[in-house]
């Protein structure tokens, strides 16, 4: 019994560490990847005693982003404007990042793994009502930006905070409706069960992934997800050319770093959600619990532990693809105007979401289930 609890605690910490590291890596990719896309060199300078150079490795600037940037930010002066609400000024970044991080506790990273007679779920907290937990923590995200903007007592910050919170509220409904359609499709609130339901194939070759039966919900979740994380083209709350830096105008040092980190943690979260709901989570096409069953009748047997590990790898590959996709969007889309943003949310995604929910319900009830 107690070893079960220890395993649970270890799993929780491992998941958090994975998320934190993935987020930090995305910060690096944002810098280096943007440079690549714009034919610049990008981060390449810092090196520790020239170790990489001496070993003949290319200087990718990882040290810049992962070590130098954070050291710089954490040793900067953290000053609070004289007119600000000091308590809320410190609480706001906490409230922004904390809900995003705890959401990952219910994400299934893989199927069960059997090692030495013990069965371990590759999910930190195997919660039955995981989707509800997810919605509850997503709803908390708005406090961080709203209070950050308000506590600074600065016009730019307040405008950014108000804009950001109104934007997040507008797109949260579309997100809720998209997730609602997926709950209807799979008939469960359990994320692990949703992944299991996406195993197998249709027509002998097409993986049973959610994207093929709910393409509209995928678009809803993708657009609403990018809007929730306030990235381009929805980055109005922090649009430099009009609002200085939006809700974190008056932030410096570690608190500023937390806001920046939140943006990227949200990118990871959106990628994870898209993977879970629409791309089979940890499912590898044609991989079953005993090995690969390829369409031609070809069979490659694998031990259970290898299958489970392949699942975890597949989950991370899919998540990374969607992370990179979101970072790519930044350089191909111009920023929207605020009225366009609100129109897209209320007159575009919301009716689409409602129609999708009604259509899904009709199909599931009348045709006796999807797939």
């Amino acid at each position: 019994m107690s070893s079960e609890l220890v395993i649970g605690a270890v799993k929780a910490i491992v998941v958090l560490l994975l998320v934190l590291n993935l987020t930090a890596l995305l910060l690096w990719f944002e810098r280096k990847g943007s440079a690549l896309m714009q034919d610049r060199v990008g981060a390449n300078r810092a090196a520790i005693l020239g170790v990489g150079r001496r070993l003949g490795l290319p200087n990718l600037g990882l040290v810049n982003t992962l070590v130098a940037d954070s050291l710089k930010l954490f040793t900067k002066e953290d000053f609070v404007p004289a007119g600000a609400d000091r308590f809320l000024h410190a609480l706001a970044p906490f409230l922004a990042l904390f809900p995003v991080l705890v959401t990952f506790a219910v994400v299934p990273l893989g199927d069960v793994i059997r090692l030495g007679g013990r069965t371990v779920e590759l999910q930190a907290a195997p919660l039955n009502a995981a989707v509800l937990y997810l919605l509850a923590t997503l709803g908390l995200g708005v406090y961080g930006v709203a209070l950050g903007g308000w506590a600074s007592n600065n016009r730019w910050a307040l405008l950014g905070g108000i804009r950001a919170s109104a934007q997040m509220l507008s797109y949260e409904i579309a997100m809720g409706l998209g997730i609602l359609s997926m709950v209807m499709t799979y008939g469960t609130l359990d994320l692990q069960a949703m992944c299991r339901a996406q195993g197998g194939v249709w027509l002998g070759w097409l993986p049973r992934w959610g994207i093929f039966i709910q393409p509209l919900a995928f678009v809803l979740l993708l657009v609403a997800g990018i809007a929730e994380s306030k990235r381009v083209p929805f980055d109005l709350p922090e649009g430099e050319s009009e609002l200085v830096a939006g809700y974190f105008t008056e932030y410096s040092g570690g608190k500023q770093a937390v806001f920046m980190f939140t943006d990227f943690a949200e990118v990871v979260l959106v990628a994870v959600l898209l993977t879970l709901f629409f791309f089979g989570g940890w499912q590898v096409p044609y991989l079953y619990s005993d090995g690969f069953h390829l369409p031609g009748g070809f069979l490659l047997a694998l031990p259970q532990a290898a299958v489970a590990l392949l699942g975890v790898v597949a989950f991370f590959v899919k998540t990374l693809v969607f992370c990179c996709f979101q970072l790519l969007v930044r350089w191909v889309m111009p920023r929207m105007r605020y009225d366009q943003l609100m129109r897209l949310g209320w007159k575009g995604l919301l009716p689409l979401g409602l129609i999708n929910v009604v259509a899904t319900a009709c199909v599931v009830v009348l045709a006796g289930g999807v797939g």
Partner: protein, 118 residues
Amino acid sequence: MANVTVPIVVTFVVAAAVVGLMVTVSRLLGPRQMTAVKGEAFECGNPASGSAWGRFSVHFYLVALLFLVLDVEVVLLYPWAVELRSSGIAGLVEALFFIAVLGVGLIYAWRIGALDWD
């Protein structure tokens, strides 16, 4: 029960510790040289014209209220969504009526221009 609560409690505690550390670390490591000018609200170099805690457009309030209504609608649909298959045609009709009534509200708000952002 414990196999769910323990990881979640651990996640909450560790996440709170990590984020708390990140928020406070530059308070501990960074310099502290506060000056009057540094404490001013940043308004692109101009002296700040009073407190920013003023009023703002009522439209944001409308967004929040409409969000609340629709959020409650979505949340109330979740029990039905989970039990979609077992509730059958009767459940479908009941839920569609529920959605239709709110659809009327949405169309009303749309027609009267409450969703426009001028």
